[in-house]
């Protein structure tokens, strides 16, 4: 048997951001402090994107900079804060200014909406949301969720609309040229996002060979056939963490939380850490090899 050629889906971070036009709807991967597409968020800001709508369960520093730079002001989302560190400062300010529009769902509702999109069915049933204001208070959608009588059992059940976003963006530890992806540690809702979006881009810490993938196919969490583009971005989730690769940069996050409480502080952060560094490579240079080494995960612990 002759082996078919391995398709090379690689593009650069800059090219990936260029493919996402103003006004695009993006299913945004990562969960909490784990594997958020930070490098992409920063590049979208450098390319002055506008009018993006993000769908996600919960994102934190990555979305807070997108909202601060006003690249994204529409969110279908379950959670937005920096968890233990407090409320997201830019979001809080932009919301007060009346600039951000939210469509609120629960985490499971968002994950099921991606699963419905991946299965190519129009909605998913959920036993949650009923009785809450998330059912009735809407901003972006006419129909947000509906409770119906189950045609089989006669019991009340709530339906949420599926999502098939223009783009799905997720971060992973490893990927090959064809997009066969290995996510280690928790997956959040990334498996469903990757299978639901019209165009899926995987940002990986490291590119491995197709042969390595085929030696352990059971480690593949997302087969390459769902993946349109592959981007190699070391430290692509900094200042957050990637399980088994590096830990979050807590002093940086604490500085962010303190400095970005007002607009002037955020504008300084934007200039210093996103615009003036000009590229992801420029950012890594600014952080410095010494600091990046300190953040490297301990082999035994994974952080």
């Amino acid at each position: 048997m002759t082996e078919p050629a391995v398709e090379d889906k690689r593009i650069t971070l800059e090219e990936a951001a260029k493919k996402i036009p103003d006004g695009a709807h993006i299913a945004w991967g990562g969960f909490g402090y784990q594997r958020p597409p930070e490098a992409l968020a920063m590049e979208l800001i450098r390319q002055h994107k506008r009018g993006l709508r993000v769908y996600t369960c919960g994102s934190e520093h990555d979305l807070d900079i997108l909202v601060g730079a006003e690249a994204c002001l529409e969110l279908e989302i379950a959670f937005f804060a920096i968890e233990a560190l407090g409320l997201a400062p830019n979001l809080r300010r932009r919301a007060k200014e009346g600039k951000v529009k939210f469509e609120d769902y629960s985490n499971l509702a968002m994950a099921l909406r991606f699963l419905g999109g991946a299965l190519n069915v129009p909605f998913m049933p959920i036993r949650h949301l009923a009785g809450s204001d998330m059912m009735t208070k809407t901003r972006l959608r006419k129909d947000k969720a509906k409770t119906i009588t189950c045609p089989f059992t006669g019991e009340p059940i709530t339906l949420v609309p599926s999502v098939q976003a223009d783009f799905g963006v997720i971060c992973a530890q490893k990927v090959d040229l064809e997009g066969n992806t290995r996510i280690f540690g928790i997956k959040g809702e990334d498996n469903e996002i990757a299978r639901s979006a019209k165009t899926t881009i995987v940002f990986a810490e490291k590119i491995i060979t197709n042969e390595q993938i085929r030696r352990n196919p059971d480690l593949t969490t997302i087969p390459g056939l769902y993946v349109d583009y592959v981007v190699e971005v070391p430290f692509g989730s900094w200042p957050m963490q990637v399980y088994g690769v590096y830990d979050y940069d807590l002093p940086h996050l604490q500085m962010y939380m303190e400095q970005c409480q007002d607009e002037e502080g955020w504008q300084r952060y934007l200039k210093e850490w996103i615009l003036d560094v000009e590229s992801h490579d420029g950012l890594l240079k600014k952080i410095g090899v010494k600091r990046l080494r300190q953040l490297r995960a301990h082999r035994q612990y994974g952080y």
């Binding site: 959670f79 233990a84 919301a95 009923a130 809450s132």
Partner: protein, 257 residues
């Protein structure tokens, strides 16, 4: 002056709410400490689950996020949201879930989304996250937050997660299968729910707090029945274990003596 802080008191009350062998869903913050403390004291067989995807956690370091890599260390499984909030939570396999709240009403319905009018809110809060999922399907729910009269409101600005909605039968009517809130823990007192009306009832006041103070610092009519007991103080053993769990005082740093 007590030899423990009000925050430590809350964490210990949270731990007492966990029974041995139960499946516990914890969020970041004090609930994490409560669940972890239960596991190293009276409930070694408790199974702790975090919504990010980690199941049966035995982490050695404290997590800052429900998705923190720290939670994968020695966990039984690291999967995803459909596993934790779907198969486990909506599947009816979780005994107790912990939640915080910015506002609570007399039926234990909570708001974690907006302060002020929905159309032009004063503050945007984190939102539901997995809160609504936990409140809808967990066997019972424990609510933990610091006591402030402005949090115990007659009417919520926004109902994020259902408590007992408008009283007996209302959860069942909507098909919500979880048991709803069973306990409220603040830094001043503990409250449970009157079984007949499902309205909040004062259960115990922490040492040094009077029933009158609690009454004044709740904006709805709090049910008070008979002599309200004082919450037992944390034991030296509990305090030692608790402080070891948060040696850097990430969560315990707040609160007063």
């Amino acid at each position: 002056m007590a030899n423990y802080t009000s925050t430590e008191m809350m964490a210990v009350c949270g731990a007492h709410a966990v029974r041995d062998g139960e499946r516990v869903f914890a969020g970041t913050g004090l609930p994490v400490l409560g669940a972890m403390l239960a596991k190293v004291t009276h409930a070694p067989n408790a199974i702790i689950i975090y919504e990010g995807g980690n199941v049966d956690c035995r982490n050695k370091d404290l997590a800052l996020s429900v998705a923190d890599s720290r939670l994968s260390y020695r966990a039984a499984a690291s999967i995803g949201l459909i596993e934790t909030l779907g198969f486990l939570m909506m599947g009816g396999r979780v005994d107790v879930g912990f939640l915080g709240a910015a506002q609570i009403d007399e039926f234990g319905n909570i708001n974690t989304s907006y302060i002020g009018d929905f159309e032009s809110p004063k503050v945007r809060l984190p939102g539901s996250g997995g809160g609504n999922d936990i409140a809808s399907s967990a066997g019972r729910v424990v609510l933990m937050f610091t006591h402030d009269a402005r949090k115990f409101v007659r009417k919520l600005d926004y109902l994020t997660s259902p408590g007992h909605l408008s009283g007996p039968g209302s959860r069942e009517k909507l098909g919500l299968r979880g048991g709803g809130p069973a306990l409220v823990v603040t830094d001043k007192c503990q409250m449970d729910f009157d079984p007949d009306t499902l309205r909040i009832r004062l259960k115990s006041v922490h040492p040094g707090v009077t029933v009158g103070w609690v009454k004044e610092n709740v904006m709805f009519d709090l049910i008070i029945q008979g002599q309200v007991p004082t919450t037992p103080e944390p034991t030296a053993f509990e305090l030692r274990k608790l402080r070891a769990l948060d040696a850097r005082r990430i969560y315990l740093g707040k609160g007063e003596k």
